[in-house]
């Protein structure tokens, strides 16, 4: 954060999915900066648009989704930048960025790899694609990266098919693939959700170590607040395609300002905290994605909501302190302190 030079600037990004049943506004106007060497956490429940945001950056939004507005500026250096939205999503330019400068890791390690090819084949493919090396060199690089992600006996593992490996090993292989070309930005979309806790801990540790080693920015997407709190220094909370709060991790977990963030924090059971008290859940459910939302998206479930203003007006993301932004009309009305 000290040398705050942006790597990615997302400006007013809007993504719609045009389905037969109607249009789903998955991302509804997002502004966001990702800085060099920073780990940005994006947290939110299913359907909040966090994965779509990640896909938008790589321009791999699945059909029938489309970026309808906005810019995603990618800065190779301070004055060499490109608007990813303007690139042809099948063109050479974006393909050169994918996998080499920006790479992504998905939730299910087993399905993210094709069962028809060996781990090595799939990793080497990325290496050969982006680096000027021959097959033999690529293989050595692949073995090297596999050992970096902590795979035992990488020289044997490289010739294995994904389905003979455990979930944890597979995820390591996927990470190896993503890191094989030393990207500037790594997007991790729920990378540990499908894994067991002990394996999750291993993988999270691996992420922390690798980030230092590779000098890259990381976008860490998850629904798990605890994982976010361990992994990131800056947190973005999303709800229904919008950012509702953004702050450094320490601040967002100690003094969350948005009622949704507060609700989320209160509704998860925390280890070591007396269990006699009831969890305070957020009422209601996430609304129908086809519904057009006019006012504050959280209004129907909000404990502070005021039908006068919240119902019809969407609050903008306000900077309330130098590095804390919140989109709520009543953020200062009901502060709760989460510090222990």
């Amino acid at each position: 954060m000290e040398n705050a030079s942006a790597l990615i600037e997302v400006k007013n990004l809007k993504v719609n999915f045009f389905l037969d049943e109607g249009t789903v506004e998955a991302v509804r106007g997002i502004n966001l900066n990702i800085y060099r060497n920073q780990t940005l956490g994006i947290v939110g429940e299913s359907g909040c648009g966090k994965s779509v945001l990640a896909q938008a950056i790589l321009r791999i939004i699945p059909y029938p989704g489309k970026i309808v507005e906005g810019e995603i500026l990618y800065y190779r250096s301070d004055d060499d930048f490109v608007d990813l939205v303007k690139l042809n999503n099948r063109g050479k330019e974006i393909r050169n960025i994918r996998g080499s400068e920006i790479s992504i890791i998905f939730q299910e390690p087993m399905t993210a790899l094709s069962p028809l090819y060996t781990i090595g084949n799939q990793i080497m493919e990325a290496i050969i694609l982006h680096q000027k090396v021959n097959k033999k060199e690529a293989r050595e690089l692949a073995i090297d990266i596999l050992s970096k992600v902590g795979i035992p006996r990488p020289d044997l593992c490289i010739d294995q098919y994904p389905f003979v490996l455990s979930g944890g090993l597979c995820q390591r292989a996927v990470i190896a693939m993503a890191l094989s070309c030393s990207p500037n930005l790594l997007i991790a979309d729920e990378p540990t959700t499908a894994l067991d806790v002990t394996i999750q801990a291993q993988i999270l540790k691996l992420f922390q170590d690798l980030q230092k080693e590779f000098n890259m920015s990381v976008i860490f997407i998850t629904h798990d607040l605890a994982v976010i709190s361990e992994m990131t220094n800056e947190v973005v909370v999303m709800y229904l395609g919008l950012i509702v709060e953004q702050a450094p991790a320490i601040e967002i977990f100690s003094s969350p300002l948005h009622p949704y963030t507060q609700g989320l924090l209160r509704s998860v059971p925390k280890l070591g905290i007396e269990s006699s008290e009831r969890l305070q859940s957020i009422k209601g459910t996430v609304p129908d994605p086809f519904e057009k939302i006019k006012g504050c998206p959280f209004f129907p479930r909000c404990p502070l909501g005021d039908s006068g203003i919240c119902k019809d007006n969407n609050p903008v993301l306000n900077t309330v302190s130098p590095d804390h932004k919140v989109a709520c009309f009543f953020w200062d009305k009901k502060k709760i302190n989460y510090a222990k």
């Binding site: 049943e21 129908d288 994605p289 086809f290």
Partner: protein, 375 residues
């Protein structure tokens, strides 16, 4: 997103209607989206209507030979005659002369002699399904005129009437054959899927063997074994059984597959743990879920049955005259010369293709609709 998949046809304010919609309603709404399937459904309904009311719909009795009109080409219906347009369609009188060189009959129309096409016209007497005797036909012309819309065959029989009448056999053989193979398949596939173990292995083996037989040679072999002395009705049923003998393997496989996956579904387990009996689980939980899929499978199998009959009859191993089926009709087109000189004889093909196409479209539409809850 699951929640919102199947509700294309309902406006927002009708949400509640969607929420309480039965599976059948959901399927129908989804089916209706497949326009071609809906069209095909109407086409088939029409076909079956024709088959049921064959004697009434066809202008002539199928066995009546119009000996003065052998190999008559299709007659045209005219709205424009006497230099004027009329609402009442007519046909012209059909006459022929002998070509002096080839000695062939050449048919020509006589525009001076018009016969109005009348609805509910009186004609030859017939007994509808052997029940009601009447002489009313859907359409026809007065005695003296002829109305051979699709021409006549070598014995001067009206082709349209024969095709309509043939549809009764061809269309029913598909339905009955499929029903038989459905029953075989359901029972054996159900047993296989439900009990598993050795029973399953044995049944699977039998299916495997039957599937590795090329169907047509097997059908041919079996039909060749039918005694020539059998009555047409007996032959008809024997052929149906032969056709379904191989058809059931596909159904059995589909049933077994669905059974195995559904048996593992949590909701079946829930019913079991609630104390529901095996039969309740089968008919209340499993059957409704896979019935629609099975219907798709058998819909797509009917064409095969119809074609099987057609093919066997065409080879002379299936139905034989005096039974009239589409295959029997096609038998008249054994060689190129026949077809080349009397191309209208091949018009039966159009009906066959239309039917097969319709079944395929409906099957396609049903497949889309079969699981309205799919994501």
């Amino acid at each position: 997103m699951r929640l919102f998949k199947a509700r294309e046809n309902i406006a927002k304010q009708e949400k509640e209607k969607y929420f309480v919609a039965t599976p059948r309603q959901l399927m129908w709404w989804k089916f209706k989206k497949h326009k071609l399937a809906v069209v095909a459904l109407y086409v088939l309904l029409l076909m079956y209507f024709l088959a049921v009311f064959a004697e009434f719909v066809s202008p002539y009795n199928i066995h009546v030979r119009h000996t003065r009109y052998l190999y008559s080409p299709p007659q045209k219906i005219h709205f424009f005659y006497n230099d004027k347009f009329h609402l009442q369609p007519v046909v012209y009188k059909l006459k022929f002369r002998i070509d002096s060189i080839t000695l062939k009959e050449i048919y020509y129309e006589v525009p001076e002699e018009v016969y109005p096409v009348k609805l509910f016209c009186r004609g030859e007497r017939y007994k509808w399904w052997g029940l009601f005797e009447t002489d009313i036909h859907l359409f026809g012309v007065k005695p003296g005129g002829t109305i051979f819309l699709l021409g006549t065959d070598r014995m001067g029989r009206d082709m349209l009437s024969r095709i309509i009448s043939g549809s009764r056999i061809s269309l029913s053989i598909g339905l009955i054959g499929v029903s038989l193979s459905f029953i075989f398949g359901l029972i054996l596939g159900g047993i296989s899927g439900y009990f598993g173990g050795t029973t399953d292995i044995i049944i699977q083996r039998i299916i495997e063997v039957l599937r590795s037989f090329p169907t047509i040679p097997l059908w041919m072999g079996l039909s060749a074994a039918l005694p020539m002395t059998w009555s047409p009705l007996k032959v008809y049923f024997a052929i149906t059984v032969i056709l379904s003998l191989l058809g059931w393997t596909g159904v059995a496989r589909a049933v077994r597959g669905r059974f195995l996956t559904l048996r593992e579904e949590d909701f079946a387990m829930a019913a079991y743990l609630a104390g529901a009996s095996k039969w309740r689980i089968i008919y209340k939980h499993l059957l409704p879920s896979f019935l629609s899929h099975i219907i798709v499978t058998i819909t797509l199998r009917i064409p095969g049955m119809i074609l099987g009959e057609t093919a066997l009859s065409y080879l002379g191993l299936g139905l034989r005259p005096p039974i009239t089926s589409w295959g029997v009709l096609l038998k008249e087109c054994q060689n190129v010369q026949d077809i080349a000189h009397h191309p209208w004889l091949i018009l039966t093909v159009v009906f066959i293709i239309l039917t097969i196409l319709s079944f395929n479209f409906i099957g396609d539409g049903l497949r889309d609709a079969a699981d309205p809850y799919a994501t």
